[in-house]
Amino acid sequence: MQSQVRIRRWPWVAIALSLAVAFTLSMISPADSVQGDLVRIMYVHVPAAWLAYTAFFVTFVGSVAYLVTKNLRWDRIAAASAEIGVYFTGLALSLGMIWAKPTWGVWWTWDARLTFTFIMFFVYLGYLALRRTTDDPIARASRSSVLGILGAIQIPLVHFSVLWWRTLHQPPSLIRPDGPAIQDSLMLAALIVGVLAFTIVYVALMVKRIELIHLEEKRLAVEQSIRRPVAGEAVTAPELGAS
């Protein structure tokens, strides 16, 4: 039984290699004219945010697929992906905050994208929390799939919030170096390689995480196969005369 779960080692190697390449490239790419070396945060911040989208989209797909097929495999994929998505969102958030302090002068501001990213982070934390509320695999899969689908509404909200907000309020800040800064080809390459590297990291983590879920399920099955007394055996005949 135990042998069915294959423990793979290549994901760790892939993660190490791709991160090394991406790091090197981000270091040799030029400093920004306005931001200086701070711009290097972008090579992590942006891929992390995009991979968070990817991860949550996979959760969405896994959730839909589970509800359609009722195959628990899809639920495992959705769960693993949501967890990794939370890491990536956390990374993008914290790097964004670190970046915000020197550029905007504050750690946090009520920009729509920031707000929505923050909310997205919590929605998927909620997703993970919901999964912990029940042991029953089918109930868990059913409930969390619904949330996995609802949660996906966040992705366009986060992405388009920048556009929407600008139409209503003043732009959040003066420095948002999307366009011009990326004219430099080495910077662009560093960004693209960064995204690729993060994609590999994502896939590798997925493989490991699903592996772990399998192991957990195995352990649970073994635990459940142990014959314990049923609930009713705790009730005995009254002993009159006591008390």
Partner: protein, 222 residues
């Protein structure tokens, strides 16, 4: 099946409205509180007429949002296990139950919006330009919040720990509604286009309705 579906939906709506009328805490506790809240804000932040006119509509919508969702969640989860069992064994289609509960919640939220709205207009000197659109907004918000509340109650149903998730589920989806509502009002005042905001609200309502109806069965798994 289809005629049976709407038949069941109507039965659930009638049941909920009747129960609420007999019980009456919505009427006597929630609505007065919403009104009192609006009354308290000027007391709390000072009675500067300009400031109040500026924040009035926003506050109105915030209060509708807060109460709305809380009311919808508590209403939707007001069935005991034996009551749920009995309804299930009557062959109540989970989707019909969802639609019915949502509809009755929406009716209450609409009443809440209207009563509290009258108070808001009185207190904050709110302009009613584009009343047709305002009514549309109120309708969309009532339906949207009712949907969110009902769906949320279904997702966290029975799992006590799940209660923690209610705000997490509700907030992100109600934010677009809230933004849509406030921006529609601002748009009407400023005379610029509100179509995209109305569409945003319609989109939220549609998406949540579809998800709610399609996932009603799986959500019954305990």
């Amino acid at each position: 099946m289809t005629t049976g579906f709407w038949h069941q939906v109507r039965a659930v709506i009638d049941r909920d409205l009747l129960r609420e009328r007999r019980q009456g805490d919505m009427l006597w506790i929630t609505i007065p509180f919403g009104a009192i809240a609006l009354l308290l804000i000027p007391l709390a932040i000072g009675t500067d007429a300009v400031l109040l006119r500026e924040i009035g509509p926003g506050m109105y919508w915030v209060i509708v949002m807060l109460f709305g969702v809380l009311v919808a969640v508590s209403r939707a989860s007001r069935e005991t296990l034996p009551q749920q069992d009995a309804s299930a064994l009557l062959g109540l289609d989970p989707a019909a139950g969802f639609v019915g509960r949502t509809a009755s919640s929406a009716v209450f939220l609409l009443i809440f919006e209207v009563v509290v709205g009258v108070v808001a207009v009185g207190l904050y000197d709110i302009s009613l330009i584009g009343i047709g659109w305002l009514v549309t907004t109120m309708l969309l918000v009532a339906i949207g919040l009712a949907l969110l509340g009902t769906l949320t109650a279904a997702i966290v149903n029975s799992s006590t720990a799940g209660a923690a998730l209610v705000p997490l589920l509700v907030a992100p989806l109600s934010v677009p509604l809230l933004l849509g509502a406030t921006q529609t009002y601002d748009g009407l005042q400023g005379g610029y286009s509100i179509l995209s905001w109305v569409l945003l609200m319609v989109a939220v309502v549609l998406v949540v309705s579809i998800i709610g109806v399609l996932t009603a069965r799986p959500l019954q798994e305990t």
